[in-house]
Symmetry: C2
Subunit: 299 residues, 2 copies
C-alpha cells in the first residue's frame, strides 16, 4: 500500500505577484510526497548536497515521509529559480543549477525494492529507468516528465512509456510528445505509445483522464488567490497516486475519486509558497474541500 517516489528535492527561489521566497524546500519528489503522505506511507528517493538545510530533512521526517533513500552527496543541492507574471499559468525559469543532480544515481534499500506502487516524478528519464529496473514487483507505476526531456531524451522517455501504467503530463507536454494539438487525440496518441492510462493536467482549467473506453474530466477547484503554483502538478499526482495506492480495485469509481483528490490537493498547494500550505493541512481540511468540490460540480 505504500508508495515510492523518485524525483528532485530542491531549493526553490520563487517570485510571484504575492511576493518572493528564497531557497524554499521544493522539488518534484517533495511536492508529491507532501501530498501522497495524506493517503499512504511514502518513501522518497532523491539527492541533495551537503548544503541542504538539516531542518528540511527533519521536517519531511516529521510529516511521515521516509527519507532513508534521500542521499546526501558532496556538492550543492539542485536549485531552481523562477517567476510568475500575470495569470500565473506559466513559470519563467530564471536559473537552474543542477549540482548533485547531474550525477545522481538513486540508491534504495533492499526492503524498498519490494514497494509495489511507484511514482517516477520529473527527473532525467535515464534515472527513472535505472530506478524502475531495480524494483522487484511493480503493481502501479506512474510517470511524469517535462518538455526538456521530451526535447532532449525523447527515446528514453518513449521507451519508459511502455513500462508504466499511468503517464501524467500537462497540456503542453502532451501536445509536444504526441505531436497532436487536440488534447483528446494527444491523450489517445500517448496511450498508443504505451501508457494504458493518460492524465492530462490543464492547470486552472482542470484535468482529464483517458483510460480504456473511459474518459473523465474535472475543472480545477476554484481558488480565489493563487499565491504560488510551483509544484501544483506534483501535488496533484501525489493525491491521485496516493489515493490509487490505497484503492482495492482500479475501476472507474476509484479513478474518479483519485482525480478529485488530486484536484483538491493541488488547490491547497497553490494557496501558499512552496509547501507552506500543504504542510499544515489536516485530514479534515481535505474532506471538507472534497465535499465542497462535489457540491460545485455535481448536477
Amino acid at each position: 500500500m505504500s508508495i515510492l517516489v523518485l524525483g528532485t528535492t530542491a531549493l526553490d527561489t520563487v517570485t510571484t505577484p504575492s511576493g518572493r521566497r528564497r531557497e524554499m524546500l521544493g522539488g518534484s519528489a517533495v511536492h508529491f510526497a507532501m501530498s501522497a503522505s495524506h493517503f499512504t506511507r511514502v518513501d522518497l528517493v532523491a539527492v541533495v548536497g551537503r548544503d541542504f538545510p538539516r531542518r528540511h530533512i527533519d521536517f519531511l521526517r516529521k510529516k511521515g515521509v521516509n527519507v532513508t533513500a534521500l542521499t546526501i552527496e558532496d556538492g550543492s543541492t539542485f536549485r531552481w529559480e523562477g517567476a510568475y507574471r500575470g495569470d500565473l499559468n506559466t513559470a519563467l525559469t530564471l536559473s537552474t543549477q543542477l549540482g548533485v543532480l547531474s550525477t545522481f544515481r538513486p540508491r534504495i534499500a533492499e526492503r524498498q525494492r519490494s514497494i509495489e506502487n511507484i511514482f517516477l516524478a520529473n527527473v532525467d528519464p535515464d534515472i527513472q529507468r535505472h530506478l524502475l529496473d531495480r524494483m522487484r514487483s511493480p503493481r502501479l507505476v506512474g510517470l511524469d516528465s517535462m518538455n526538456f526531456w521530451i526535447d532532449h531524451k525523447r527515446r528514453s522517455l518513449v521507451r519508459l512509456l511502455k513500462d508504466v501504467d499511468i503517464f501524467v503530463a500537462n497540456d503542453a507536454e502532451a501536445r509536444s510528445l504526441s505531436g497532436e494539438t487536440h488534447l483528446i487525440k494527444a491523450a489517445r496518441g500517448l496511450r498508443r505509445m504505451g501508457a494504458p492510462m493518460v492524465v492530462i493536467k490543464k492547470g486552472e482549467h482542470g484535468v482529464f483522464v483517458s483510460f480504456k473506453d473511459c474518459f473523465f474530466c474535472l475543472p480545477a477547484y476554484p481558488v480565489e488567490k493563487i499565491v504560488d503554483p510551483t509544484g501544483a502538478g506534483d501535488t496533484f499526482a501525489g493525491g491521485f497516486m496516493g489515493y490509487l495506492a490505497t484503492a482495492r480495485k482500479m475501476n472507474d469509481a476509484a479513478i474518479k475519486k483519485a482525480i478529485s483528490y488530486g484536484t483538491i490537493m493541488a488547490s491547497f498547494n497553490v494557496e501558499g509558497f512552496g509547501v507552506e500550505r500543504t504542510a499544515r493541512l489536516t485530514k479534515k481540511d481535505i474532506v471538507r474541500r472534497l465535499e465542497r468540490f462535489r457540491d460545485i460540480v455535481s448536477f
Copy 2:
C-alpha cells in the same frame, strides 16, 4: 414559460479545418432559438433583408420557433464571414456587413410584450435596451454582448447590467468589461456592476457561474472533432436559459442542471457547421449525452 430572444439572424460564411460553408443560416438569436426550443417555446425577435432565403424562415417555423417578430426590411441581411485555425478557439472575422441590422428597431406583437423570460443575445446594447423597455413583466432576463460593444458602447452596456438577472460572457469579455484578469474576481466585479448572476464561458475549458454565495463550474463536454464553433456560446445560453425558463425555482439544483444542459447543447453545436447538428437533434440525443456527461464528471 416561453422565452423571447432578441438578437441577430445572419447569413454566415465560415471556414474551418473541416471545410467551408457559404451563407448558412446563423446569428445569435438563431443559435439561441435552435437550442432553447428543445426546452420551451421560443419567440425570435430579429431582422433580415429581402434577400433572406424563404427556406430559412420555413425551417425555423418547422423547428417550432415563433417568427412573427422576425421582420423583413428593404435592404440586405446581416452577413458575417469568419475563419478558424489550429485549435479553433478564436474566430478570425474576415468581413461584417450590417445591412438592415444598422437601422434595426425590434417590433413585437402586443401579446409578446407579456412574455416573462427574455434573452438579449448579442446585438447593439441600445437595441437591447429598446426591447427590454417594451417588456411588461420580465421575470428572468439574460444578457449577452461582445467585445465590440464593450469597447464602443460601454455606458449603454453597463446600464443594462443593472436591469438583468443573468449576464453571460466569454472569458475575454468578462476580463475586458470588469478590468480584472482573474476570472473569479472578474465575475464578482461584474456582479458588483449589477447582474445578480454571472455566467462565464471558457470555450473548450467549460463554464462557471457566480451567484449569491455560490459558485458552480463544469468542464466542456469532450467533443472529439470540432467542426465549427460558431454559435456555441449562444447555443449554451439557449440550453441554460431554456431550462431555467421551465424551472419552478431558481435554486442551486436548477442552476446546475441549467449549466449542464447548456454545456451539452453547445457540444452538439460544434459538431456540425452552423445549425446542421442542432437541427437534427432529438430529445433522446440530449438525454443520452447528459447521462454520459454526468458519468464523466461525477465522483
